[in-house]
């Protein structure tokens, strides 16, 4: 299948430039986060660049295929990804007490990252079909989407990876809200929504996850464990003051006071070195990026495109918001990567796949 030259012309350059800017900032930040005062290891940067190239190639492939064709085959991809998630649970590599990675030809992959865009595609297809029949979804209509969501949700919780699990659950809910539901559906969701956390607290959450929530509520109760890390993260952010300590000058992360400072706590590195001023610009870049995604959703050729784009925008937004809120102690500590910025090939490729889908939808907004 060849791409119409005119369609290339319709590539959303705003989205591309905005995304590139975020990635460039992320790469620059990663160099600082992964080097000490004396020596730097470029292996992180090289891996990140390789993942970026893979992502760009995937974008090239994705934009060549009409998103409707992709959506119609999304259940195939969905099951493949789900199978790898199961594989991870069986054979996966453990790191930090969790089985999240699988090694294929020497490349470590985190399949749960890919479930996010794939689930959006699948749900969008299903919801779009439902919407063709009725304006508002009744309680019965949300059963199937929930089954598709809960399947990976449970598998991911087993890893355990509470962060990714929460994201996909929230995305599903937001997408339901987006397509519109009956009042009765809302009522049922709210009822389940109040009971589920109680059940989760009693049966699902692991002690360390509960500990994180306790710690979030009372940071001083755990001055040496998670509380210590949260406190050090806040000190890192706060010590940046208005203009920051300067690039490569962040002592909090360079001297290892921040755990996971190149993945989940990457924002603290940026805030420490660039301060309030840099952070505001950084936030604005994210907000404009998400605005752009929503615009694509708004301008999509059809409802399917709108729903997909909205779901993808939601994923990026939720990851951004929760990650930053966690770093500044407005949310409990959960392992969620910051799109474009955190180190991690799977996360970056997953984000770039989303970008590819968004470009795809945008290119085809004038189809006749």
């Amino acid at each position: 299948m060849r791409v119409d030259k005119r369609k290339l012309y319709h590539l959303d350059w705003y989205l591309i430039i905005n995304g590139l800017a975020l990635f460039a900032i992320g790469l620059m930040n990663l160099i600082s986060a992964t080097s000490s005062f004396y020596s730097g290891s470029y292996s992180f940067i090289i891996k990140q660049l390789v993942a970026f190239c893979v992502g760009v190639i995937l974008i090239g492939v994705i934009i060549n295929v009409d998103y409707r064709s992709i959506a119609s085959r999304s259940h195939v991809v969905y099951f493949i990804v789900l199978a790898t998630v199961v594989l991870v649970l069986v054979w996966g590599m453990a790191a930090g007490g969790a089985r999240r990675w699988i090694s294929i030809f020497g490349i470590s992959l985190q399949p749960s990252e890919f479930i996010k865009p794939v689930l959006v595609l699948l749900l969008a297809g299903i919801l779009h079909e439902k919407k063709r029949e009725k304006a508002l979804l009744g309680p019965g209509d949300i059963v199937v989407p929930f089954v598709w969501t809960l399947l990976p949700f449970i598998l991911i919780l087993l890893q355990p990876d509470l962060g990714t699990g929460l994201i996909i659950l929230l995305v599903a809910l937001v997408m339901l809200w987006f397509v519109g539901m009956k009042k009765s559906t809302y009522a049922i969701l709210i009822a389940v929504g109040t009971f589920l956390p109680l059940i989760a607290w009693r049966f699902v959450l692991k002690p360390y996850q509960k500990q994180r929530i306790y710690t979030f509520l009372n940071i001083d109760a755990d001055p040496l464990g998670v509380g210590y890390h949260t406190k050090q993260a806040m000190i890192a952010v706060g010590s940046g003051k208005f203009f920051g300590k300067g690039y490569m000058q962040g002592t909090q992360h360079k001297l290892q006071f921040i755990p996971e400072h190149h993945t989940d706590f990457i924002y603290t590195v940026f805030a420490e070195e660039w301060g309030f001023f840099g952070s505001i610009i950084f936030f604005l870049l994210f907000i404009t990026f998400i605005r752009r995604c929503l615009r694509i959703s708004q301008d999509a050729y059809d409802d399917l495109g709108s729903i997909i784009a909205f779901g993808l925008a939601t994923i990026i937004f939720l990851q951004f918001a929760i990650n930053v809120l966690m770093a500044i102690h407005l949310a409990p500590v959960v392992g969620i990567p910051l799109p474009f910025i955190s180190y991690g090939g799977s996360s970056l490729i997953s984000v770039l796949v989303s970008v590819g889908l968004l470009l795809n939808i945008n290119m085809r907004r004038y189809m006749f």
Partner: protein, 626 residues
Amino acid sequence: MRKGDKPYNSRFYARPRGAEYEKVMKDGSLPDKYRWCKWVLILTMVILSLRLWHLQIMQGNEMRRQSEMNRIRIKKIIAPRGVIYDRMGRVLADTRPSFNLYITPEDIKDFNQTVDGLATLMGLDREEIIDKLKAASGFPSSFPVKIKSDISMDELAKVEANRVYLPGASIQIEPKRNYPHGTMMAHMLGYVSEISNDELKKKEYKAYSPGDYIGKYGLEKMYESYLRGIDGEKRVEVDAMGREVRTLDMKEPIAGNSMYLHVNLDVQMAIEKMLDGKRGGCIALEPKTGAVVALVSRPAFDPNTFASGITKEEWRAITTDKAHPLQNRVIQGRYPPGSTFKVLTALMALQEGLINEHTGFSCGGGFPFGNRVFKCWKKGGHGGVNVRRGIVESCDVFFYNVGLKLGIDRIHKAGSSVGLGKPAGIDLPGEASGLVPSSEWKKKTYGVPWYEGETVSVAIGQGAVWLTPIQLVQLSSFVANEGITFKPQLVDKILGPDGKTLKIFAPVVTVDMKLRKDVFRIVKEGMQGVVNEPNGTAYGSRVENVHMSGKTGTAQSSTLEGGRNLGDHAWFIAFAPSEDPGIAVSVLIEHGGHGSSASAPVAKAVAETLFTVKPEIKEASAGASR
């Protein structure tokens, strides 16, 4: 789009742009949720900005301070203590590098893990570590607390290998006091040890902190302020494990001042050899300046034990030893001077004109006085004795008579005026006074009057007269110098770390007493005879080529150990050469028996070392000081 409107077909339905946009959205199947999205994004931005404003602007300074505190530690660099040399520049005390184990409370992650881990690795008591941490509780938690000094290479390897499991533990290389000659000169040099909690509370130790070493004995204590030096400090950046990452800036420590002593290591070693295995003391000094050439007290202790951080067991062993190794017998041991005291009795009787060179008394081996008979050491008696022979042969009866003529108060006055019964003023801490009794003293102390019979005893250095070896060396000097004594001084000069002389200790006259010339001549002739005449009590210790003058003493002791009398104390005081005295010596050997046989050979060894060239001694000393 409401239900029942035209069928929705996404494939053929293109949404118009521009002006029709709003309308189409409202007619479409999807409700317009984008307005909500706009508000969600704005709300997110507002929340994030406000929180950041709070953290980075309002709390920014505090957070910056905390991040600095996190990473910057001020570490003390301990100044090496000043080196102590003998008069020829041979090292008596210096410093060597040692490894010390510290705990920085702030860096501890799990208190029990670190403390128990170290306790197991180092074979320490958990309580011991906690006590040390408690002692430093008044200091900031970033202050490293010394747990163990001078750990072995083996222990060092164990700690380094387990550093990951022992957050907060660190090892510092620091200078440690080293005494190359071990127990030799222990009482003179003294020792350094960790400052105690009680000392820390005192005002004069305000500049010290826990774990600091401080001179606690001997010269180390006396000249603490000169020897100590000024500690430097460096600001280092540490990581979350408390490991040093880099040094930010540094104030170099300034080494302590070095000290040159008057001590001659050869003489010191000759005496140490003679006194080996005995209890006693010996001091040799230059009568013309008061410069102390050697000072030995036995038994001794090894000051290196203290510098390495003495254990409770080692300390208990030293303090409960019946031989009292920590006592400096030369300046703290008080003994009846025995016959050496006769020198003073003779001097004063001659000066007062109570006797002259030819005055004679008859010795029949005993002296009846009151209702008892005071015996002479020579059972058969000496026959007719004058003062010269009285000294040479140490006739007791002669001095019983002279003593009675003098009376106790004149003996007391004479003793005081030559410095007996009071500290000689040597530059060591803790010198004892001793006692030369007077009738007034007895009245005051016991409330009873003095009896003449006691004077008889005192005249030959028995009874209530208690003197230290250093006081008797001053008596010897007094005779050698014919009326002048100098304050005994160990330190010659103090040099700054740059080699410049800071302080020179000039001789200080302590006694200057004008006696008639012939008084000294007569007494000196007697003392010369003691060593150099066949009937002299120390004839066996005469020195080839050099004339030594001396006086033996055998002081009765009633010390019992295990129900057995340990025997008399052996004394010998001397100066040499007789013609132009360059050295004065006083030797005491506790329970050594006769002064002539036990103590005089020590003085002989001193004179030989100084005034006759003996190849084997030179070689031996060169070997030992290497």
